[in-house]
Amino acid sequence: MINKIWGFFIIIGILFTCFFGSINDLNDTILNSASNGVQMILDLLPIIVLWSGIMKIAEKSGMLTKVGNFVKPVLSKLFPSLKKDSKALGYITSNIVANAMGLGSAATPFGLKAMEEMQKENDQKDVASDAMITFLVLNTSGVTIVPTTVIALRMMHGSTNPEEIILTSILATICASVAGLTLDYIRRKRKKR
C-alpha cells in the first residue's frame, strides 16, 4: 500500500511539474527534500531519545504494567488479540493520553514503542497485525482534547475566543474515532469468517 502511494506521489508530482510547472523548482525540491527530512529527524531525535529513557524507567519500575492494568477493561475490548499482560497496552495508553493533550511530539515515541511491542506478538513479521491496525486507526482519528497548536495559532491571529473550538474538535473526533473503530471491527470480523 505504501509502495503505491509513494510511487504515485513521485510519478504524478514529477510529470505534472514537467508539463505545467517550473523545472527549476522541481530540481530544488528534489535536492532539498533530503535535508528537509534530516531536519525533521533532528527535531524528533532528542524527544524520542529522552522519552525512551524515561519510559524505560516506567517500564522497569512496573508502572507501565500498572497503568496498563488500570485501563485494561476498555483496551482489551478494543485489542482482543493482544496478550493480557502485554506491555503494548501501557504504551498505547501513554500514546493516546499524550495525543489527547495535544502533545503530538511526546506521543510519537510511545506510539513507536507500542508498535515494537505489538510486533513481538505478531506471527507474520511483514504483515500488519489486527492490533496494530486498530491502534493506528485510533491514533490517526486523533483523540485530541486540547489541540494546543491550533489554539496558539488562533490566539496569534486575534481570535476573541481561541478555545471555543475545543468542544467542536472533541465532538468531531468522537464521530471520526467511532466511525474508524466500527469499520475496523467489521473488517476484522469479516476476515475471520
Binding site: 509513494w6 531525535l45 516506567a58 514503542k113 504483515v127 491514533n139 488562533r154 486575534g158 468531531a172 473526533t173
Partner: protein, 172 residues
C-alpha cells in the same frame, strides 16, 4: 485547560521518577539503556522519514492540487462549501506542517472566528497525518503489508471532516 496541559509533562516525569525511586530501580542506568534504544528507533525510522518527505514534497510542490481545486471551485460555491477548506482537507493526511500553513492562511485571510476559520481549526484538531503516521509506524518495524489500515484510517478522517462541517454549522 492550557495550564493543565502544561502541567502534564512535568507531573508525568515526576511521578515516573518518584515511583521508580521508591521501587529502588537503578534509574540512571535504566534511563541510559532506554535512551540507547530510542537512538536505535530513530535509526530505524530515518529512511522512512527521508522517503516520505521526498515524495510528499514533490507532490505538494507540483501545484496539482491547486489546479484541480481551481476547476471544481465553481461547483463547491454552489453547494455553499467554503472552497478554501478543500486544499487543507486533502493535504491534512500527508503533511502536518503543510496543513498548518494552509490553516494559517485561512486565519490571515478570513479570521480565526469566521466560519471557515472555525471549520479549519476543528478539522485540524480532529484529524491526523494518517498517511505519514502509517508510513512512519509501519516503517519502524519493517511491515510492508498493511492490509486495510490505510483505507480505514482515511475513512475515519473523512468522517471527521464531514462531522466538523456539521458540528461547526450547527453550533455557531
Amino acid at each position: 485547560m492550557n495550564t493543565i496541559s502544561k502541567l502534564i509533562i512535568p507531573l508525568f516525569v515526576l511521578i515516573v521518577i518518584f515511583y521508580a525511586f521508591r521501587k529502588k530501580v537503578m534509574i540512571y542506568d535504566t534511563f541510559l539503556e532506554g535512551a540507547k534504544e530510542g537512538l536505535i528507533t530513530v535509526f530505524h525510522i530515518f529512511p522512512s522519514i527521508i522517503a516520505m518527505v521526498f515524495a510528499i514534497n514533490i507532490f505538494l510542490k507540483s501545484q496539482l492540487l491547486e489546479t484541480v481545486f481551481g476547476i471544481i471551485a465553481p461547483i463547491l460555491t454552489k453547494i455553499h462549501l467554503p472552497i478554501q477548506i478543500l486544499p487543507m482537507a486533502f493535504v491534512r493526511p500527508i503533511s502536518g506542517t503543510a496543513s498548518l500553513a494552509i490553516m494559517n492562511d485561512i486565519f490571515a485571510n478570513f479570521g480565526p472566528d469566521s466560519f471557515v476559520g472555525r471549520l479549519a481549526s476543528t478539522i485540524q484538531g480532529c484529524t491526523d497525518t494518517t498517511i505519514y503516521v502509517l508510513a512512519l509506524y509501519f516503517g519502524s518495524i519493517k511491515i510492508n503489508k498493511t492490509r486495510y489500515a490505510l483505507s480505514t484510517g482515511l475513512f475515519a478522517d473523512f468522517i471527521g471532516i464531514v462531522a466538523s462541517f456539521l458540528v461547526v454549522s450547527f453550533l455557531f
